[in-house]
């Protein structure tokens, strides 16, 4: 499954690269892209607990850029 999320207040390109590296390393993540310019996270996963994974990704983003925020898609 591939899902795209918006990241608000993504301010630093080097941090975006770090986020990508760390999110990629999460178990269950097949691939991840943090696009600094479009401010988007694209997550490809085979995990059944996607919500949990997204929460972890959100934590990683917060830890690297305290002002940044992962926007969850409306359901």
């Amino acid at each position: 499954m591939t899902q795209t999320y918006k990241i608000r207040n993504l301010g630093c390109a080097a941090c975006a690269a770090k986020m990508e590296r760390k999110i990629k390393a999460l178990p269950g993540v097949l691939d991840a892209r943090v696009n600094f310019i479009t401010q988007k996270l694209t997550l490809r996963t085979d995990s059944t607990q996607v919500d949990d994974l997204v929460r972890q990704a959100g934590d990683i983003i917060k830890s690297l850029e305290p002002n940044a925020l992962l926007v969850l898609p409306a359901r």
Partner: protein
């Protein structure tokens, strides 16, 4: 976001006043105040980062450098570093925001609402996402076409520039397809929706361009890896510079070396580097899409930039797929008689060869003279002309009627004719090259493409003629689609081949070749999902000059990205060197760091303004696809 535009001038004013006041205590207090005003959020960010275990964060490094400066008594420099760092950040945010906007504007194709026709004949504005296939929608003059559809009613001119980069509007009439993203210029149209919003042409294109920068270029991957190592290494070097010399060298003052180390910390942030590369590529992709060229990834753009071999499919890429009669070879009758018999026989056929015969005849055709017309698909036509049985078509068709055709020395595209069971001669045709093909190839050459190769399913003779006309180096003719893959593989394996290999085709029946080449380019792809899907780079219209335009944009984008990387790394290395020797000051370091970032971003933004530059290469789209379908 705190108001940096107020805080920074305030901090600088306090800094100036502080520098003018001689009293140490007052001065220190003023400078400290200035420092806090300029950088409290950076300090707070550093604290939060450290609490979460982030020691190489930008905020932390800047805080460490400035706090260090304060500890060794360099108050003024601490303020300066913080203020200039913040100015740089502000500028960087502004520039990034501006290019994000510029890119969004390029892609401002997305419709806001759709005029849905209701059963009573009135229209109401609704969300495009909610309109289903088969619904009737109304598009007024001046409006964007919101969804793909077939024109049911109305005639108009469509401006396709947003999709194809083409300046000339296209006529649109009932029964034709109107693609979303075009602008309806002159008349009101009623469309029957053929695709839901998320599969419409405009949605697909937008998605593709937005995701293009996800496919990273090698340069970007390199810079990301480099920066991941760069920061820790510079910080460790800073520690060594601060403490090793004072321990080892007699007479080295700790304060002096700590000051040098602080310079290191100031230039340890890799952001300028990390941002300028993808920003350049993104700009190039944005500029290309404005010109009607879709680059499906930064990596493809980079591969195209290295292209030194271009391989073309002949028909539809370099030629129009329209034939013209070039010679008549009668046997036992005159040129005129042979052509007349053929034209009368072929008058109703839509085959490109038939059209070429009728075009060449140039005289009114009396349909009464022709009876019992019978067309064999891929073979030819038989008919009774003035009571005589005429066959026009391939050697195989004549043979099936028991007529031997002589072996024609000149091959090319040939149509044989027989009258009343007797061989009457043959006609030869040529596939017309596109008006701009020669210019396009010349431009590729002038951009350093060293090898031009053409592949075709047609005969050697037909291929060679086009190749001679356009100045192509090699022709491989008589190829089936799978042979084309083999040929491209051979070309890829050629010893001593430099650069990358680009294949250009129409994207419809050469998908495997597009995939096999280093970079696959589909031409004339507007409205063809298969072509858009299969290629790495998509040229929306069928103007061959766009190939040169795409190469130009790719080359320039890559050059800008490389300039940025080299420039940023060089300046950082220079500052590190000077700092180690004690020749740099914190002022210089922060100027270098912020200045490089700003210059790199400005440079990257140039990429956004790149154009295909097809000047002097007017190409009127005569839509051969449509001719075939008609």
């Amino acid at each position: 976001m705190s108001k940096r535009s107020i805080r920074l001038p305030l901090a600088l004013a306090l800094l100036l006043i502080g520098l003018l006041i001689p009293g140490t205590a007052v001065r220190a207090a003023l400078l400290l105040a200035a420092y806090l005003i300029a950088g409290y959020d950076v300090l707070w960010g550093a604290v939060r980062g450290v609490l979460r275990g982030q020691v190489f964060g930008e905020s932390f490094l800047m805080s460490l450098a400035t706090v260090g400066a304060i500890i060794i008594g360099e108050y003024a420099e601490a303020v300066a570093v913080m203020a200039f760092y913040q100015t740089g950040e502000m500028f960087q945010d502004y520039a990034v925001d501006k290019s994000r906007r510029a890119i969004a504007q390029v892609m401002n194709l997305r419709p806001d609402s759709v005029n849905l026709l209701t059963e009573d004949g009135s229209s109401k504005a609704v969300d495009p996402a909610g309109v289903g296939v088969g619904a009737l929608i109304l598009v007024r003059p001046g409006e964007k076409i919101p969804l793909d559809g077939i024109i049911v009613e109305g005639e108009s001119q469509l401006d396709t520039a947003a999709l194809t980069g083409e300046a000339l509007p296209r006529a649109a009439a009932p029964g034709e397809e109107a693609l979303s993203g075009c602008i309806n210029l002159t008349g009101t149209l009623t469309l029957r929706v053929t695709r839901p919003y998320d599969q419409s042409t405009v949605s697909k294109i937008l998605e593709m361009v937005e995701n293009a920068s996800d496919k990273k270029s090698r340069r970007e991957t390199f810079i990301t890896r480099f920066s991941a190592v760069y920061t820790p290494v510079v910080v460790i070097l800073a520690l060594l510079v601060a403490f090793l010399p004072p321990l080892l060298l007699p007479g080295a003052a700790l304060q002096d070396w700590v000051y040098r180390a602080l310079n290191f910390l100031v230039v340890s942030c890799p952001c300028a580097l990390v941002i300028s590369i993808p920003l350049s590529f993104f700009g190039g992709i944005g500029g290309a899409s404005r010109a009607g060229i879709l680059m499906k990834g930064s990596n493809h753009l980079e591969t195209l930039a290295r292209a030194q071999t271009f391989v073309f499919d002949k028909t539809g890429t370099l030629t129009q797929g329209r034939f013209t009669l070039c010679s008549i070879h009668p046997q036992g009758l005159s040129d005129k008689e042979l052509l007349e018999a053929a034209a009368l026989t072929e008058q109703h056929s839509l085959h490109p060869i038939a059209r070429a015969i009728v075009d060449a005849y140039q005289r009114a055709i009396d349909p009464e003279r022709v009876k019992s017309v019978n067309e064999t698909a891929g073979g030819g036509v038989s008919a009774a002309v003035d009571g005589r049985q005429v066959l026009v078509g391939s050697a195989a068709l004549l043979k099936s009627h028991g007529i031997q055709t002589p072996h024609t020395a000149e091959e090319g595209t040939v149509s044989h004719v027989s009258i009343d069971g007797r061989y009457a001669g043959h006609l030869r045709f040529r596939d017309l090259t596109k008006p701009c093909a020669a210019t396009a190839l010349e431009r590729l050459r002038s951009q350093g493409v060293s090898r031009l190769v053409m592949l075709t399913g047609d005969s050697q003779q037909a291929g060679q003629e086009v190749a001679d006309e356009l100045g192509i180096d090699a022709v491989h003719a008589g190829l089936l689609p799978q042979d084309k893959v083999t040929r491209v593989e051979e070309l890829l394996a050629l010893p001593g081949r430099k650069g990358s290999l680009a294949f250009v085709g129409d994207g419809v029946n050469d998908a495997p070749v597009l995939a096999r080449a280093d970079v696959g380019i589909a031409m004339g792809a507007l409205g063809s999902d298969t072509a858009i899907e299969a290629a790495d780079i998509v040229i929306m219209n069928d103007d061959p000059c766009q190939m040169a335009g795409a190469l130009r944009i790719a080359r320039r984008t890559v050059r800008i990205a490389t300039q940025n990387a080299v420039f940023a790394i060089a300046v950082k290395a220079l500052v590190l060197g000077l700092s180690a020797l004690g020749l740099s000051s914190l002022w210089m370091a922060v100027f270098a760091d912020v200045g490089v970032a700003v210059l790199a971003i400005l440079n990257a933004m140039r990429a956004l303004r790149l154009t295909a530059d097809n000047k002097g290469c007017v190409y009127i789209n005569n839509m051969p696809k449509k001719a075939k379908a008609a």
